[in-house]
Symmetry: C2
Subunit: 347 residues, 2 copies
């Protein structure tokens, strides 16, 4: 017979209840339940306690435990928007190393809003997270510096902050962009544009700078670099429209990321342009299902899962040994050539 009135549950059993049921003191019960301290207790007593615990369905109250031990076993993961397919793999990567390491991950979204970011991080801190992994793309604002000064352990993903010795892990944007430009140049393109992400983000700026260097290295013009207001399909589309209107000679574009590239696809459809025959496009990130697009999108694959995993490893390191000097690492990316790039039309 199941409980007919689940709305009036008996309160959850506490350690006291277990101790009483086993006829011991709470201290003894506590030690018996903790594998680390169990050897201080006679096997017989330990058995009795554990039996009582399981009979009562005892679950330790980790709020109380955290208060006493001042360890929560929790780290915060700050991302802009879970809905961006970029981030779920990062999240899973982080979890894949933190959970076996005994930590749980608390995810918050900031929507790239400074105020929300502050509020969310405050909330995480008041919940006593032991560390932070920050994967938001905003360039340096005082918050990070402030946190660092307060001794908050953290590691950054996809973001560097100038003059701040905080560990960071990022994809090798420079090499990725260079590979993309080289690929297009080798196909014979001479007027290559870059639809950059917002230059207020560290990633947007890095890729734009890398693009400029890459085209210069090939002796190509570096003035075709409109900026998208956001990393979104619609902003990519409007940037592409403007570009086409103002610089009709463009035959290839390196998009700041895959979403921006998708925006280009929309414009092609609008204007009856053919990709890759009329214009080639390269994305960035290699988010899922790009191989099923029309045409399949050539892009730069970034190892997002690894990005997350590596960041998590670095955080574990800094939690273990806080004095370790902050190192930053760059993960290799790779150009994956699909169907959205081809030699320019020769007419």
């Amino acid at each position: 017979m199941s409980n007919p009135r689940p709305s009036h549950p008996s309160p959850a059993p506490t350690l006291r209840d277990v101790a009483e049921a086993a006829g011991v003191h709470t201290a003894t019960a506590s030690r018996a339940l903790n594998p680390k301290t169990r050897q201080q207790i006679s096997a017989e007593t330990a058995r009795r306690v554990m039996r009582a615990a399981r009979a009562l369905g005892y679950q330790p109250n980790s709020v109380a435990r955290s208060l006493k031990t001042s360890r929560t076993g929790t780290v915060g993961l700050v991302i802009p928007d879970l809905t961006n397919p970029l981030f779920p793999p990062i999240v899973r990567g982080v979890e894949s190393v933190l959970e076996p390491g005994g930590y749980n991950v608390w995810i918050v979204n900031t929507d790239n809003d400074e105020e929300r970011e502050r509020a969310q991080i405050d909330s995480l801190r008041s919940r006593q997270v032991e560390g932070l992994i920050i994967a938001t793309a905003r360039l340096d604002h005082p918050l990070l510096r402030h946190l660092h000064e307060q001794g908050v352990r953290m590691v950054l993903i996809n973001r560097q902050v100038e003059n701040l010795r905080v560990p960071a892990v990022t994809g090798d944007d420079v090499t990725g962009v260079a590979a993309a430009v080289h690929h297009l140049a080798a196909l014979g393109h001479t007027r290559i544009a870059h639809l950059s992400g917002p230059l207020s983000t560290s990633t947007g700026r890095a890729r734009a700078r890398a693009f400029r260097h890459a085209v210069r290295d090939h002796g190509l013009p570096d003035d075709l670099m409109p900026e998208c207001a956001h990393w979104s399909e619609s902003d990519g589309a409007t940037a592409m429209r403007n570009l086409l209107d103002r610089s009709p000679g463009v035959t290839a574009v390196v998009a700041g990321n895959d979403l921006i590239a998708l925006g280009c696809y929309d414009v092609f459809a609008e204007r009856g342009l053919s990709c890759p025959d009329d214009v080639s496009v390269i994305g960035f990130n290699d988010m899922p299902f790009l191989d099923k697009l029309r045409p399949p999108l050539t892009t730069v694959a970034v190892p997002h899962h690894e990005l997350g995993a590596e960041a998590a490893r670095m955080l574990l390191d800094t939690l273990d040994t806080p004095d370790r000097p902050a190192r930053s690492i760059l993960l290799p990316v790779s150009l994956v050539v699909r169907g959205s790039t081809a030699a320019p039309r020769t007419d």
Copy 2:
């Protein structure tokens, strides 16, 4: 001058520190800081306390607060895999109503593994979440019943459990599948298959049943219903291969979800079949970027954000008034016709 040794941070200030700085008792400080109780304190004192708090950078320790008040302001959100594009919108939907409601959301992944699910839920409970939103697809297993008996407040997404009065919100699968079948039948298809999701999931079973009814209503055969082992592209592909081998006459398929439909695309590419000319496909869910596929996938759009938001509203309701009878709601879905469906070839 920034702190040169962030590895030895001064411990975070406590309410005591604030109280001492303001020259009052902790009780007074507590009341002064809490807007609800602030009127018990003289304006002058309150000001002094608040000033001291902000000077010290005081952040209330919500672990201690939770222990005392036995309220954590946290609810758990249990999903199978954040990487499945289905879930991020649900997550955001949940957050969009819970955060304004004063709650924070803790997300966990189960990977559809029973053991992981149990462990994750245990972890959430030990952290004293006040409610649970469960969006995993496994059919009834004893865990849910157990939780319900223990009086755990929860609401289910995309899942019903038989004989259990737990609120649930789901998409209207029956109507969606019927619309898909009707669309195909109207185009002239007579041999329509269903690549069902795993029948161990509530969704898989519901859609399969709905499909059976729908084809019968149209006087069509109901024996073309292979089951996919998982909701994945690769399992969709193998099911499609088998189907094609055994029932070459099939001209249209209703896939259990979009991923399975994508698996069909892979098989078409392998075998040189044309979609929709040789065979039509309909997906389910309308995950992002389906309009950019080759061909754009016809699918049934499920309002995932709303699913999450509605579930969150129901959870808020049950948290407020636990005795309210559990109601379940069905959200309307809609067929969105794109390029993957057409009349069968007439040869």
